[in-house]
């Protein structure tokens, strides 16, 4: 998703007044994206107009921006495994460091978000549910990072027997993550209609879709694990353990996506 980068850079340039470029640290980039703290002064409204302090920035936009970052991270998984398949260790390193950067950006967004959710806010949804949602989203990126870490710390070789299964798994994982992203993108529409009506039904269908996808991925997971079990005697035992670990982590990604859908269901039902 390289095309996202220029748009983000422009936004950063607009918000921080600095020319776009790689000179900005991640912290500055994040700070540029989320002037979530009202104005320069944090807590109490420092204007004679109470309305300015009353209307805080939407708590849903940062969640959406966070999810976009997380999804960009997940999308890198197939290319990571492709590089591994081609035994291009340099490319593996490259993609891994991209993943690491994205993961720490999303961490920053998450902690920035947490710091700006005082209990005194009147929100259309439960504050705890919002914080849990961003936690689940972040867990997605964490899983991706764990996988890439394993692949860089050891020179792994994809067992031929599970190659097709693994490809299916990765495809399904990216797909369910995209479904989760689409779901999260509907959040601002949901707020607008007060979590009711047609939008409510639309998102409910999306949630069901995510659940179905997770169920299907579970099936593929079982198959892949079973296949690996079938050939594990022929492979180096330590590598096998790590492959089981990698498969488990990939499965975790879709679990987190399903948990996100559950959180959204809470928004709709309350």
């Amino acid at each position: 998703m390289a095309m996202q980068a220029p748009a983000k850079r422009d936004e950063v340039a607009r918000n921080t007044g600095k020319p776009p470029g790689n000179s900005l640290s991640t912290a500055e980039k994040v700070a540029g994206w989320y002037p979530f703290i009202y104005g320069e002064k944090s807590m109490v409204a420092m204007s004679t107009n109470p309305l300015a302090g009353l209307l805080r920035k939407s708590p849903f936009k940062p969640i959406q921006q966070h999810m976009r970052t997380v999804y960009t991270c997940v999308e890198l998984l197939p290319s990571l495994f492709d590089a591994l398949h081609e035994r291009d260790l340099e490319k593996v390193q490259q993609v891994s460091s991209q993943i690491a950067t994205l993961e720490s950006e999303s961490d920053l967004i998450k902690s920035h978000y947490r710091h700006n959710m005082p209990k005194t806010l009147l929100l259309p949804v439960d504050r705890k549910d919002l914080l849990s949602l961003i936690h689940e989203q972040d867990a997605l990126a964490d899983s991706v990072e764990k996988i890439s870490q394993i692949l860089t710390m050891r020179d792994m070789v994809i067992p031929v027997a599970i190659k097709t299964g693994l490809d299916d798994l990765l495809r399904g994982t990216v797909e369910i993550s995209h479904q989760a992203l689409t779901m999260i993108e509907e959040l601002d529409e949901l707020v607008h209609v007060g979590f009711s009506g047609k939008e409510h039904d639309k998102v409910t269908r999306m949630i069901t879709g995510v659940r179905k996808s997770e169920h299907n991925i579970d099936k593929v997971l079982r198959t892949v694990n079973r296949t690996l079990f079938g050939v594990e005697q022929e492979l180096d035992p330590i590598s096998v353990i790590f492959w089981y670990k990698i498969i488990e982590e990939i499965g975790d990604i879709s679990d987190h996506a399903e948990n996100m859908a559950d959180r959204l269901l809470l928004f709709l039902s309350k």
Partner: protein
């Protein structure tokens, strides 16, 4: 008596100066806050807001400001005890004006959300208690006024809540929101014109000697409503669907329809504000003029001359143009979370409530009612995040403003008494 005869002109001049100072503060502060929502939602530019404010604030003050001015002028203080020394009332009114204006200045520089209405009422009570006696205060009326300060934001909130629900049912939750938005927009705009006119004109404008029966009032209100609707339809026709923006946010085009609608609520906010808050400055001024020109008649049975309302309007507009426009700019940039559809509901609710209060002669705080309306929208789960600490700040400012205004008025009163004797 002699004081008035001797110093009559000076006292009037002082009254006009203090009155202008007070209304200037109201314009720089309060009005900017009231119009800021429309600016923030992108419905009007700052220049357009100033233009609207000039016209409608004046109109509100002249057409609908009579009752509140009467309350401030003679509804709160009962001066029967000092009929023989009317100059005390004059000093008191001057002191109250000055106190309220100074308090407003102090609070603005510190960024405290104080209400001009609360300041002047507190100041008047303060003077009355020490200048005449606790019995001179019409505590029954004061009780009603304080009750209205609590109830009016609630009413604004309720109306806003219902309006948001109606937009959801009629527009946002339908199969074709954009089509329905264009279909129902004229009815909402009609509401703006109709409600404001009805409340203002019901059974006539006494201080302008315009007599209207209930039926005539309804008829005229409906006519005005239809007129505003017609103008509104002209604006709405111009709104084009934006498919690009709709990809990002499905309701982007619908919000575009609400943007010109906020133009009308901006006018109504200015009108409502004029009807209620101009009185804060010119009520005491009217009292002083009445007492001096009648040669010391403390019961103020004279009718209020319209030119005083014009003076008040001028002061407010001056305040808006000199300082208020900067406030509007800052406020406007900070209130970006209020989309046009929400802003419309909040402003219509607030304007209606304020005009209703003005009709019944109750001085209320426009800003606080607007806050109540926005909270009403938030309770309908229509806004992302509202910081409730602001509500706490407002309550604290209530508790501080009344005594602060009262104490300052007392001080100024004794000072004036010392100077003029």
């Amino acid at each position: 008596m002699e004081v008035i005869a001797a110093y009559g002109t000076i006292l009037i001049v002082l009254a006009v100066i203090f009155g202008l100072y007070m209304t200037w503060g109201v314009g720089a502060n309060d009005l900017a806050n009231a119009m800021g929502t429309s600016v923030g939602a992108g419905a009007v530019t700052v220049k357009q807001a100033i233009g609207i404010a000039i016209v409608f604030e004046f109109a509100g003050a002249v057409l609908a400001g009579g009752n509140v001015t009467k309350t401030i002028r003679k509804g709160i203080i009962d001066p029967t005890a000092i009929t023989s020394s009317p100059e005390i009332l004059v000093y008191g009114m001057l002191a109250a004006l000055l106190a309220a204006a100074v308090w407003l200045m102090i609070a603005s520089s510190r960024g405290w959300p104080v209400s001009t209405t609360h300041s002047i009422v507190g100041a008047l009570i303060g003077f009355a208690v020490v200048g005449i006696g606790p019995d001179a205060v019409n505590w029954g009326k004061v009780g009603k006024i304080v009750a209205s300060w609590v109830i009016s934001p609630l009413i604004g909130g309720t109306i806003a809540f219902l309006l948001v629900m109606s937009t959801r049912k009629l527009i946002f939750n339908t199969d074709n929101p954009l089509k329905n938005a264009k279909k129902y927009a004229p009815f909402y705009i009609f509401l703006v014109g109709f409600v404001i006119s009805l409340v203002t004109l019901f059974k006539g404008l006494k201080h302008l000697n315009v007599e209207l029966t209930a039926v005539q009032s309804f008829g005229l209100a409906i006519l005005i409503g239809l007129l505003t609707s017609a103008v509104g339809i002209f604006f709405i026709r111009k709104v084009k669907e934006d498919p690009e923006a709709d990809k990002d946010f499905h309701f982007a085009s619908v919000e575009k329809v609400f943007t010109p609608m906020m133009l009308f609520t901006a006018c109504s906010m200015a009108f409502a504000h004029g009807s209620n808050d101009v009185a804060n400055g010119i009520g005491p001024l009217a009292a002083v003029i009445s007492i001096v020109t009648s040669g010391g008649e403390v019961m103020q049975s004279s009718e209020m001359p319209v030119w005083i309302l014009v003076v008040g309007g001028t002061g407010i507009v001056l305040g808006l143009v000199t300082l208020g426009y900067k406030v509007m700019l800052t406020v406007g940039t900070k209130i970006t979370e209020l989309t046009p559809s929400r802003g419309f509901c909040a402003e219509l609710a607030a304007a209606s409530t304020v005009v209703l209060a003005s009709r019944t002669g109750l001085p209320v705080s426009t800003t606080h009612i607007l806050v109540g309306s926005v909270l009403g929208v938030g309770l309908a789960r229509g806004i992302g995040a509202l910081d409730l600490r602001v509500v706490l700040n407002i309550i604290i400012s209530w508790i501080v403003t009344l005594p602060a205004g009262a104490v300052m008025a007392m001080v100024f009163f004794f000072f004036l008494k010392g100077v003029f004797g």
